[in-house]
Structure formats: structure tokens, C-alpha cells
């Protein structure tokens, strides 16, 4: 495929013409919406008085729970999340009231005049307290193979301990936004910044008490999603819809950055407890892990996220006897939600850190231990949940990357550097990614499309996926271009709209191009089969001597021809016109469901994934152990995307995901105070990577000659897997801290490895050395 095709919005991005919801031109009748939210983590609402607020000039509506015409709920899976809190609030940032006004000043004034009387209750603000109070969200999940306790007992060496991984704020550049426009009767149109327009439609219908066919949700583009708009976008849409319904005017809500950070869910932080057994060589014999996630105040997607964390607890390693337990705990924080990797990173972090510990303990290079434990090609190739690892690319990629990154040579140079420098230390690590592709909720693995061809030969593609920057629309355009054999400039991909393609799955789980691509292909296949009939009859008329057969008709370069008689040729435009005259439909829906996927949640066994995406990276860092500051010197990445549909876009996904991962493992730190207020609620204190935080030397490659069978254009998913390549940075930092004690002392370590972790852990090692 050509890598010359740029993002189909690239030009409008750089000229500033791309329209996001907040840029849409509206009449002077537009009202602005604001959400009044709880200041307490857990409290009874004793009284709400909105009378004064309603009197503010310019205010058109103030809505509280009792004004909701439909159901007061917006939980995506389990209906446990009120749209507006009524009697009790369960986290700081929970919506209580909504205001619609003509301008910002009126909104602020009205907000101040809303009187809410609370009676505070005890709040649970961390996993430890939630465990102590047995505040579990749902029954625990388990995946098990063999007899782990016996295997641990028989292991020559064991480690037991725990690892904390912090959450992560999505920090999409465009905060949560929605614009609701009331129509005739009960109809409502919602422009949403949502990864899941179908669910947005459902929740808007529910809160308004209307049916789904009265709600139209459209998503032109999002200014970033990363999972943060898989469910959280629904909330803002529902609030805007309620205000629009109440005022009978268009209402827009565009969350202020701090409010967005305070109100919305994040990546689940985890407390994982482990026991691992291994032999002298470093081969893992047994692994028992209990992943405890902080679900926050409600279900949201926590159980699916927990499940994916469990399904990735093995990372890329074969473990003979294994037990993985997952528990999600309720706390009085915003309900945590989807975030790139969807639990996978949290599950993998534990074992990747353990491999590092095993290596240090055995005085070996961690690369060696990783290689030793990789899933094998022809044996030891079943995951703990019973799925066979086919087309294992770990060894190929390991060999290629170890060579291209000059791992061994640099390891020696690092050792030398560390011997010569007392406080500045360097570290390096190689880490693998094996990421399961498909929604683990099997029924979600379906997609729809609607392809229209107009009589001038131009094509409009609609599909169920949403564009959040990942280039999905561009790839879909390319699929249509390849399948119809016409140039991309004759094809347009429209905004995602629930009235064009219904009942879609969220654009999530990295599945966007896999499933929607197949649905688009299905639609173009259907139209092509109709066109072929027209072509055959035209060829019969034009070239009566060479009889064409259906299977020989080729669509290519804006023409249709017979591959046996290439002179039997007709332009695409011409055949479209002919087909129309001959009363042939030029529009078709397309549909796809991923075959062969199932997972038995009770047994913890099945084939939850259609295939695995692989990746590997080597990173080298330098720390200043006196100040805790670090530099990312170099990262080498090799990523498997099958046959890339668009190399430019795929490399962009790999680099972007990796850097987002680097943020998670280094500088991004969520902190709450003792009453449940997020203290890192703005970019002032919540630090995502800047241009200076990327590797000084950054080498990214896609694995060559690696077609994937059974997927659209033999490609693989790319959205999430490279996020976890950032473990190479995390563990390189640990390697550098470990150098402070000449690799004889296991450093204290958590995720993220902030400057605080680096400094205090180094200091502790220095103190231990003094005692020795």
C-alpha cells in the first residue's frame, strides 16, 4: 500500500479549518451549559436550592435530578451511575446540577447561587482501604492452570511482594464536549465527542425517556480520545441533551480543562500482589498474581478492563503453573474507565518488573531471562486461558532488535560509564509486547458500513468507527479505494452518524480498522457484484467476440477490465452511469463479525482474541541519582502491524502510543488529598511528555514482510499495543537506579518512576551501602 496518503484531515488540521464541536457555527440562540459538581467525595445531599440561580439574567434552565424526564442513569454496562446525583454523592466531581445560560458570566453567577447542603460521610479513597472494608465491586475473576501452590513450593527460588501502578489522565487536547440541538417533537440531534456514538444515542434516549430512533448522534472528529471518550463522552452528551430538551434551544457543553480532569474517569490504578517461582536459569515455574484495581465509584467498564489486565498478566511469557485473580474495588473517586491498553499495561507491568528482579537476583541480563521465558513456537505455546499462540513473532523480533540496537555493545558501554560515574547512572532494558486483539466482550466484535456511489462516480463511505486522530477514516478510504479500484480523491468518508450506520461498537480495543475495514469491504463487494453484472452485459455488447466471465473482472486504476482480455475495458464512471440507467442500486450496507471468538468468564478459558499484535523496544536512560531527574537517551522500537495499510499513520500510532506510555511510567502522577480532591488537576501539576521528553535518539521500524491472515488487507491493529513498549523506559530507569548499588540491591520501585522514586530509591540504596 502507498504510504504517500496522508491523514485525510491533514490539510484542514494545519490550516485551522478542521471543525471540532466547539468550533461549530451556531446562531445567537445557542446556550452554554455548565455542570455543577460535588465538592465532597462521599456525602448525603440534604437540600438543593436552585431558585436564586434561576433568577440570574441570561439563565434559561437549571436542572437537578428530579427534572430528568427519563431514567436518571448513564452507566454503560450496569445502570449504576446516576446522570445527576440526587440523594448522595460518591465522588468529588459528580454532577449534581446543570445550568444553561446565554454567556459564561451568567453561568458562573448562577453556579455560585446554587445552594447545596451536604452531610459528609466516610469516604474510601484508596484500594487498601477498600480491601480492608471489603468494598468489592463484583465477585472476583480467576484464570488458572496447573497447581500453582505446589509449583511455588517446588520452585528453587521465589519472590513474594506487591507492585503499585498509578492511574493516568487521558489529557486529550479537546476536553469533553457536546452540542445538543432539539428538533421537532421529541427529536434531538447530538454532536458528540464520543468514541461510542451508539451508546451515546442510547444514554441520551434513556435520560430523555425517548426511543433511540428519535436520537441522532454524529461524530465528525474528536480532538483525541485514548479511551477517555469511550464512555465519558456519553455523560457530557446526556447533560447537553437534557438542557437542550429543557430550553428547546441548542446547548453546548465544553468542559473546562480542570473540570474535565476532576470529573472524568482515568486509567485504573492497581495494587498487585504476586508470588513467583523460578529456577537457577531464570525460567519461570509458577506465578500467582492478584490484580486489585481501583474501579472508582461505579462499574463503567471496570470488569472488562480487569479481564484484559488478567489476560495480559502473562505478558509474552509461558508460565506452566499459574493463577491470576482479578478484583475490582469500589472507591469514592470518579469511576475509572477505558484508557489505551485497557488494563493490559497494568497486568503486564507486574511480570515485566518480576523478570527484572529475577535477573538481578541471578546476576544475569534481564534480556536473557525474557528470551528464556518467551512463549515457544511449537511447545509451551498456550496461554493461561487456553488460547494457542499462533504466528509467534517474538523470537524474530527479539533477534532483529537486539542486533539493530547493538544491545550487547551498549550494555558494556553502560557498565563502563556507571563504573566511572558516581552519581550519574545509565540503564537499559528490552521489553516485549504481545497484545490480544478483539473485544473480550465477544458480541462487540461486529461492525457496519454504508457505501454510497453517486452518479458522477464519487463515493461516500460511512462506517461505524469514529475518528479521534488515529487515521481510521483515512484507512477506510484506502480500503474503499483498493476494493473499488478508484483513486482516493474520488472517495470521501463522512462523519460517523447513528442514522447512517446503526448499532455500532465503540471505536476501541484497537479494533477500528480491523472490523470497520471488513464491513466497508463487505459493502463494496456487494456493490461490485452488482456492477460486475452490468459490466458483463456491457462487454457482451461492446466486445461480442471475447466472452467475459464474472471472476475475471478486475477493478483497478479507475477502470474495470477483463484480466484475460485487457482490451475489454470500461471506466468506473461510465459503468456507474450505466448501472444507474439500468436501475441497479449503487448503495449498500456492509457488515462484519469477527469469527471464532469466545471466552468463558466463569472458567477463565477460551479464545478471546482473533490474533496477537507484537512489538519490542530497547530504551536507554540516564539518571542523576542526586536529583532524581532523568534523560531518555535512546529508544529503538520494532512493531508488528502485519501489512501496513498506511505506514505514515502506523508509525504515528507507534510513536504516539509509546510516548504516551513513557508519560505513564515517568512524569504523569495522579495525586489526591485526604478528602478525595485531585491535586494534580491541571497541566500545571499533571505533566504529560513534552517534545523534550522523547528519546534523544528515536528509531522506529515496522516489522517487514509480516502479512496477517484473515484481516483487512492483511494488516494488524496498532492503536494500543505500542503503549506498552514504554516498559523499556520504566525498567531502564530501574536498571540505572540499580547501578547506584552496583546491581546488588533490589531498588524500591513503583509505576510511575517519577523523580521522587528515582531519588528516594537511589538514596535508600546509598544508605544501605553505607551500612554494609
Amino acid at each position: 500500500m502507498s504510504d504517500q496518503i496522508h491523514h485525510n484531515s491533514a490539510i484542514s488540521h494545519v490550516t485551522g479549518e478542521s471543525v471540532y464541536i466547539n468550533d461549530m457555527l451556531m446562531s445567537s440562540q445557542l446556550l452554554f451549559g455548565k455542570v455543577v459538581f460535588s465538592k465532597y467525595a462521599h456525602a448525603k445531599i440534604k437540600k438543593i436550592n436552585i431558585k436564586k440561580a434561576l433568577k440570574v439574567k441570561g439563565v434559561h434552565a437549571v436542572i437537578i435530578a428530579k427534572n430528568i424526564p427519563g431514567e436518571n442513569q448513564m452507566g454503560p454496562v450496569i445502570h449504576d451511575e446516576p446522570c445527576l446525583a440526587e440523594k448522595v454523592v460518591t465522588f468529588v466531581g459528580q454532577a449534581i446540577a446543570l445550568i444553561a445560560a446565554e454567556n459564561k458570566d451568567a453561568l458562573l453567577q448562577a453556579e455560585k447561587l446554587i445552594e447545596i447542603e451536604y452531610e459528609t460521610l466516610d469516604a474510601i479513597l484508596d484500594i487498601e482501604t477498600s480491601i480492608a472494608k471489603n468494598n468489592i465491586l463484583a465477585p472476583q475473576r480467576k484464570i488458572e492452570r496447573g497447581n500453582v501452590d505446589l509449583a511455588l513450593k517446588n520452585s528453587p527460588h521465589t519472590f513474594k511482594g506487591e507492585l503499585k501502578t498509578n492511574g493516568q489522565e487521558h489529557w486529550y487536547l479537546e476536553t469533553q464536549t457536546a452540542l445538543a440541538v432539539p428538533g421537532e417533537g421529541k427529536e434531538i440531534m447530538v454532536h458528540a465527542s464520543s468514541q461510542n456514538p451508539t451508546e451515546t444515542q442510547a444514554i441520551v434516549a434513556e435520560v430523555l425517556g425517548i426511543s433511540k430512533n428519535e436520537v441522532e448522534v454524529e461524530v465528525k472528529r474528536m480532538g483525541g480520545g485514548f479511551g477517555g471518550k469511550e464512555t465519558q463522552g456519553n455523560h457530557v452528551a446526556a447533560w447537553a441533551a437534557l438542557l437542550a430538551n429543557a430550553t428547546k434551544r441548542p446547548v453546548k457543553i465544553h468542559l473546562f480543562r480542570d473540570d474535565d480532569q476532576i470529573m472524568t474517569g482515568k486509567r485504573h490504578r492497581c495494587l498487585s500482589k504476586y508470588e513467583i517461582g523460578f529456577d537457577e536459569a531464570g525460567k519461570i515455574l509458577a506465578y500467582k498474581v492478584e490484580i486489585n484495581t481501583d474501579a472508582g465509584a461505579a462499574f463503567d467498564l471496570s470488569m472488562a478492563i480487569l479481564e484484559r489486565a488478567m489476560l495480559h498478566a502473562d505478558s509474552s511469557y509461558f508460565i506452566p503453573d499459574v493463577q491470576i485473580i482479578g478484583r475490582a474495588w469500589k472507591t469514592n473517586l470518579p469511576s475509572n474507565t477505558a484508557y489505551r491498553g485497557f488494563g493490559g499495561p497494568q497486568g503486564m507491568a507486574v511480570i515485566e518488573n518480576l523478570i527484572d528482579m529475577i535477573a538481578r537476583y541471578l546476576k544475569k541480563d534481564s534480556a536473557e531471562i525474557r528470551l528464556l521465558n518467551f512463549y515457544n513456537i511449537d511447545k509451551n505455546n498456550f496461554t493461561p486461558y487456553g488460547q494457542k499462540i499462533d504466528s509467534n513473532r517474538l523470537f524474530v523480533m527479539y533477534d532483529q532488535l537486539i542486533k539493530s540496537s547493538e544491545y550487547s555493545k551498549r550494555r558494556n558501554e553502560i557498565d563502563k560509564f556507571n563504573n566511572e560515574n558516581e552519581f550519574v547512572k545509565r540503564g537499559m532494558a528490552i521489553t516485549p509486547v504481545k497484545f490480544g486483539i478483539s473485544f473480550t466482550t465477544s458480541f462487540l466484535n461486529q461492525a457496519g458500513a454504508l457505501v454510497n456511489i453517486y452518479t458522477d462516480g464519487t463515493v461516500l463511505v460511512n462506517h461505524g468507527g469514529t475518528e479521534m486522530g488515529q487515521g481510521l477514516h483515512t484507512k477506510m478510504l484506502q480500503v474503499a479505494s483498493v476494493e473499488l479500484g478508484i483513486s482516493p480523491d474520488r472517495i470521501k468518508v463522512n462523519a460517523t452518524n447513528t442514522s447512517k450506520v446503526p448499532n455500532t461498537s465503540p471505536t476501541a480495543a484497537s479494533s477500528g480498522s480491523d472490523i470497520n475495514g471488513m464491513a466497508v469491504k463487505n459493502a463494496t463487494d456487494i456493490i461490485k457484484s452488482r456492477l460486475v453484472e452490468v459490466v458483463i452485459s456491457e462487454f457482451e455488447r461492446l466486445y461480442p467476440n471475447n466472452k467475459s466471465l464474472n471472476e475475471n473482472i478486475v477493478f483497478e486504476n479507475n477502470f474495470i477490465f477483463d484480466k484475460l482480455y485487457p482490451q475489454n475495458k470500461i471506466s468506473f464512471n461510465e459503468i456507474i452511469k450505466t448501472a444507474y440507467i439500468k436501475q441497479v442500486s449503487l448503495s449498500s450496507t456492509g457488515y462484519y463479525k469477527t469469527p471464532g471468538i469466545y471466552f468463558d468468564r466463569d472458567k477463565g478459558q477460551g479464545n478471546p482474541f482473533y490474533y496477537f499484535s507484537y512489538g519490542m523496544s530497547v530504551s536507554e536512560v540516564e539518571i542523576d541519582s542526586l536529583t532524581g531527574q532523568y534523560k531518555l537517551l535512546r529508544s529503538d522500537i520494532l512493531n508488528d502491524v502485519g501489512n501496513s495499510i498506511n505506514e505514515g499513520i502506523d508509525i504515528g500510532q507507534v510513536e504516539g502510543a509509546f510516548i504516551q506510555g513513557v508519560g505513564w511510567v515517568t512524569t504523569e502522577e495522579l495525586k489526591w488529598d485526604k478528602t478525595g480532591n485531585l491535586t494534580t488537576h491541571s497541566p500545571d501539576t499533571y505533566k504529560i511528555p513534552t517534545v523534550n521528553d522523547i528519546p534523544k535518539d528515536f528509531r522506529v521500524e515496522l516489522l517487514k514482510n509480516a502479512p496477517n491472515s484473515g484481516t483487512i488487507l492483511k494488516s494488524k491493529a496498532v492503536g494500543e499495543p505500542p503503549f506498552m513498549l514504554a516498559f523499556s523506559v520504566w525498567l531502564a530507569i530501574k536498571d540505572a537506579i540499580s547501578a547506584v548499588g552496583n546491581h546488588t540491591i533490589e531498588p524500591d520501585f513503583t509505576l510511575p518512576a517519577t523523580y521522587e522514586v528515582i531519588l528516594l530509591s537511589s538514596e535508600k540504596i546509598r544508605n544501605k551501602l553505607k551500612v554494609k
Binding site: H6, H7, S9, A10, I11, H13, V14, T15, G16, E17, S18, D23, L25, L108, W171, Y172, L173, E174, G223, G224, G225, R257, D258, E422, M468, G469, Q470, D624, L626, T627, G628, Q629, I649, G652, E655, G656, A657, I659, Q660, T667, T679, T680, S682, P683, D684, T685, I688, P689, T690, V691, N692, D693, I694, F698, T754, Y755, E756, L759, L760, E763
Partner: protein, 483 residues
């Protein structure tokens, strides 16, 4: 001039008469002003605090030899009257349409070609920062590019293609269609700037003064002692954008050219209070390397282009980046009122948490730094969670003079360790007269650790601050030994 400001936008002089547009306030930000027009919605709000750069615009003003100087700014932190007399350039101005055909500016074209946009929301700001690089550098180094992009957060790309776009685009000696219209714009700006009558904008609840001379500024200060004083407004504007604070009276010094000089006087360098941080940074490379070092990690280029040395000192923030190093350089502050002036040591100027010794008729007019002789060494350090575009968790500046092997003079100033910038006087006392060796430094570190009781907050725990502060002394020691 009453109620009216003028600037160049879209190639023409745009006059804004605040009395005609009640929805416009003098404190309306340039971001919100632009976004009220359908043709200028490219500029985006990502954070409203000057951290993300999605709102980056470029301002051109007349510099030396009647050439335009192009600077990137965060439009979310700039009040509209601050751009009076300047050219405002937005993302929409970069591409040109000729004969119905749109041609992208080179920085835009390269950003497309390198796949430098994904979701596109940060892109207009990135484009403006690239344009800023383009207009200021021919074949910029990677360091220059990265420095200019530090204030633009992108959550999608990982930045690599953006750097590449800058490297590939900035090869035409800064020439583009703006070069062609430069003379015209200079004429327009001269026309606006020929009128130096103080701009006064008043509405029912607000007064905004923008004087163009120091005497006018001092008169207005005397007459409006409660007016908030701004120059770059990067600190003050946050109080409006983040905390919805309402400013009834504002005295904007950004038009006072007398505050924008750097002079050499009496063996000192005198920085006018209105000199931007970026100017101080560039000026101090050789003269005050420890100051330069700290300013290299001060905010972003967008912030440094407008934030002033006077403003940074005047905010008296305990985590202000310049203060410890100004302590170490024994800087002085000149304060003027209509009838008097005084010069005060920086250490005496800072009197409490965000409190400075400044009377309600005084303005900071100069920051004076004595020239450094070769007998001593000054170094500075900043520790922050993220290397760039972050506020100090701990910062410090140290000054050392040795007589033989012994310490004859030492000054250890710390930011982030107390409610004010503070010297570690006990530690200094211990070290004075002692040999400058590791053993004595390590003993001093133990005293230093006890000398402060820092806070735990969103940036770090107290233990980190204490440990880092004492380690900085060791780091300083090791570096003095290296050189």
C-alpha cells in the same frame, strides 16, 4: 485615546472600540476575541493556563532597522489591549489563496508531509510555533526546534514528525509571503504607534490603563494604587482564566518602552523591568551563566517571549525561577514613584509569601545585577517533575569564593523549600572558613537537611524536597571540583 485599541489583523488595521461592543472587556483574552469570529476559530483553548500552547499565535512588532520581529505567544494569557500597535498573526493567515488555489505555508506543507498531525487539535498552535521558528531561524538546530516547541503539548504524535517538519521547512532564509508584505505592515504599525497618548478603557465595572511612558505609568500608579500591575500578564491572567477572578483596575506597562532597555552602569548590568525573560536569557549566556541556565528551563518560549524580569521578581513567588539566582548574584531592585526612587537588595525586597517590599505608588523599574568577577563561582539548579515547562519543586543557586582551599564567601539560596526564597544561613555559617572538601560538604548537608521544613504537595513529598536540597549542595561541590 479613549476605549480604543488598534492592531493589524488579516493585513489591515483593526480598530476595537470597547464602548461599541459591550461583550468585549479590556480583560478579554486575545484567544476569546479571535474565537468570536467564524474566520478565526483555528486557535484553540486546551488549558487556559499557558501550558499546552494550542492557543499559540504570533505577534509581529517593529524591531531594529524597521524589520518585523516575530514572537510566539499563548493567546489565552494575553489581554486584548496588550497587542495594541502590533500585528496579530493567526493560523488562518499562513496559507494564501491565489487564483482560487490555496497554497500552504511551507511549515504547514511539511507538517502534512511528515504526518505531523493526528487529532489536529494542537495542530494550529504547533503550526504557529513552527512559523515562529521559520521566521527566526535558518536551518535551526534540533535544540532550537525543541526549545521552541516545549510549550506545545501534543498527546497524539510523540512529536518526532513535528521536529522533522521544522527541520525540513526552515531552509528558506525566513522568506515567505510575510516577507513580501513586511514594509506595508511596518507602515501600518508605525501609523498606529505614532499616537502615544495613554489608552484608557473604562466600562461600568472596569478600568484599564495602558501608558506609553514611565512618567505616565508612575502618575497612573499614584492615582490608581489598587490597580493590578501587569506587563506580560502570564501570572496575573491565570487568576482570571483559572479562578474567575475579576480585575476592576489594571495598569498595563507593556507599552512603556523606557522599561525595555538593557544598560551597563557602574559595573552592573541594568535590566529594565519590562525586559522579557527571553531577552534576559539571551543576554546572560556569557555574563550570567547561572541565570541563563535557569532561564533555559523557564516556562516555554511562548511564556518567555512575554513574561518580564520585573514581573517575575515582583510576584515574589517562593518557586519563582529567577529569585535564588538573583540572590546569588546579589541583584538589586530599583523602585520608582512619581516623587522618589530607591534601590534595594533583592533579599530585602522579598518580605513574605508572594509579598514584596513595594509601596502602593511604586513600580519596579530596574533589576540590577553586578558584573561578576572571576574570583567566585555561581551555579544554579532547578528540579522539577518534568524537565521543561514545569514549575520548580526545588530550585537553588549557590555562590562560592575560595581563599586558598577554604571557603571565604558562600551563599546558598533555595526556592521551593519555604514560603519565600530562603538562604541556608546555618549551613553557610558552618562552611565559612572551612576547607572546601567532600567531608565538610557532607557534614554541611546534614545541617542543610534540618534547616528547612518544606511542604508536601502535588509536586512532591517533603522528604523529596529535603533530600534533593541537600544533594544539590553535593552536586554543586562536585561540579566545582570538575571545573
Amino acid at each position: 485615546m479613549k476605549n480604543t485599541i488598534r492592531f493589524v489583523l488579516d493585513g489591515k488595521i483593526r480598530e476595537v472600540d470597547f464602548s461599541k461592543y459591550p461583550e468585549l472587556k479590556p480583560t478579554t483574552t486575545v484567544l476569546n476575541y479571535l474565537r468570536s469570529f467564524p474566520e478565526h476559530k483555528g486557535v484553540k483553548e486546551g488549558c487556559a493556563e499557558g501550558d499546552c500552547g494550542a492557543c499559540t499565535i504570533v505577534i509581529a512588532e517593529i524591531g531594529e532597522n524597521e524589520k518585523l520581529v516575530y514572537k510566539t505567544l499563548d493567546s489565552c494569557l494575553v489581554f486584548l489591549p496588550m497587542i495594541h500597535g502590533k500585528q496579530l498573526i493567526t493560523v488562518e493567515n499562513l496559507a494564501i489563496t491565489e487564483n482560487n488555489e490555496k497554497s500552504l505555508h511551507l511549515v504547514q506543507q511539511l507538517l502534512v508531509e511528515t504526518n505531523g498531525s493526528q487529532c489536529g487539535y494542537c495542530t494550529p498552535g504547533i503550526v504557529m510555533s513552527l512559523f515562529g521558528i521559520y521566521k527566526n531561524h535558518q536551518n535551526p538546530t534540533k535544540e532550537i526546534i525543541e526549545d521552541a516547541l516545549t510549550g506545545n503539548l501534543c498527546r497524539c504524535t510523540g512529536y518526532q514528525p513535528i521536529i522533522e517538519a521544522a527541520q525540513k521547512a526552515c531552509v528558506n532564509n525566513c522568506e515567505d509571503h510575510f516577507s513580501k508584505s513586511e514594509k506595508e505592515v511596518v507602515e501600518l504599525l508605525k501609523k498606529i504607534n505614532s499616537n502615544t497618548e495613554t489608552i484608557t478603557i473604562k466600562n461600568k465595572s472596569q478600568k484599564y490603563f495602558k501608558p506609553f511612558s514611565i512618567s505616565e505609568a508612575l502618575r497612573l500608579r499614584n492615582e490608581n494604587p489598587n490597580a493590578i500591575i501587569i506587563n506580560g500578564s502570564t501570572d496575573i491572567a491565570l487568576r482570571q482564566t483559572k479562578k474567575n477572578e475579576f480585575f476592576a483596575e489594571i495598569l498595563d506597562l507593556s507599552g512603556v518602552s523606557e522599561l525595555k532597555n538593557i544598560k551597563v552602569e557602574n559595573n552592573s548590568i541594568v535590566f529594565g523591568a519590562g525586559i522579557t525573560i527571553e531577552q534576559v536569557r539571551n543576554y546572560s549566556i556569557e555574563k550570567f551563566p547561572a541565570l541563563n541556565k535557569i532561564l533555559n528551563v523557564f516556562g516555554s518560549l511562548q511564556i518567555r517571549n512575554i513574561a518580564t524580569i520585573g514581573g517575575n521578581v515582583g510576584s515574589a513567588s517562593p518557586i519563582g525561577d529567577t529569585l535564588p539566582v538573583l540572590f546569588a548574584y546579589c541583584a538589586k531592585i530599583k523602585l520608582q514613584s512619581e516623587n522618589s526612587e530607591r534601590i534595594i537588595a533583592i533579599e530585602d525586597f522579598i518580605i513574605g509569601y508572594r509579598q514584596a517590599d513595594i509601596k502602593n505608588d511604586e513600580l519596579i523599574t530596574e533589576v540590577i545585577i553586578p558584573k561578576q568577577d572571576k574570583t567566585g563561582v555561581v551555579n544554579s539548579y532547578k528540579i522539577s517533575k518534568r524537565k521543561d515547562m514545569d514549575i520548580s519543586t526545588v530550585s537553588s543557586a549557590f555562590k562560592l569564593k575560595l581563599s586558598g582551599e577554604s571557603v571565604s564567601e558562600i551563599l546558598l539560596a533555595f526556592g521551593g523549600m519555604a514560603a519565600v526564597t530562603k538562604r541556608a544561613k546555618e549551613t553557610e555559617k558552618l562552611l565559612i572558613g572551612k576547607k572546601w572538601n567532600r567531608e565538610n560538604v557532607e557534614t554541611a548537608m546534614k545541617i542543610l537537611e534540618k534547616e528547612f521544613t518544606p511542604l508536601s504537595d502535588a509536586r512532591s513529598e517533603a522528604e523529596f524536597r529535603s533530600t534533593a536540597a541537600k544533594n544539590l549542595l553535593l552536586k554543586f561541590y562536585l561540579e566545582t571540583k570538575q571545573n
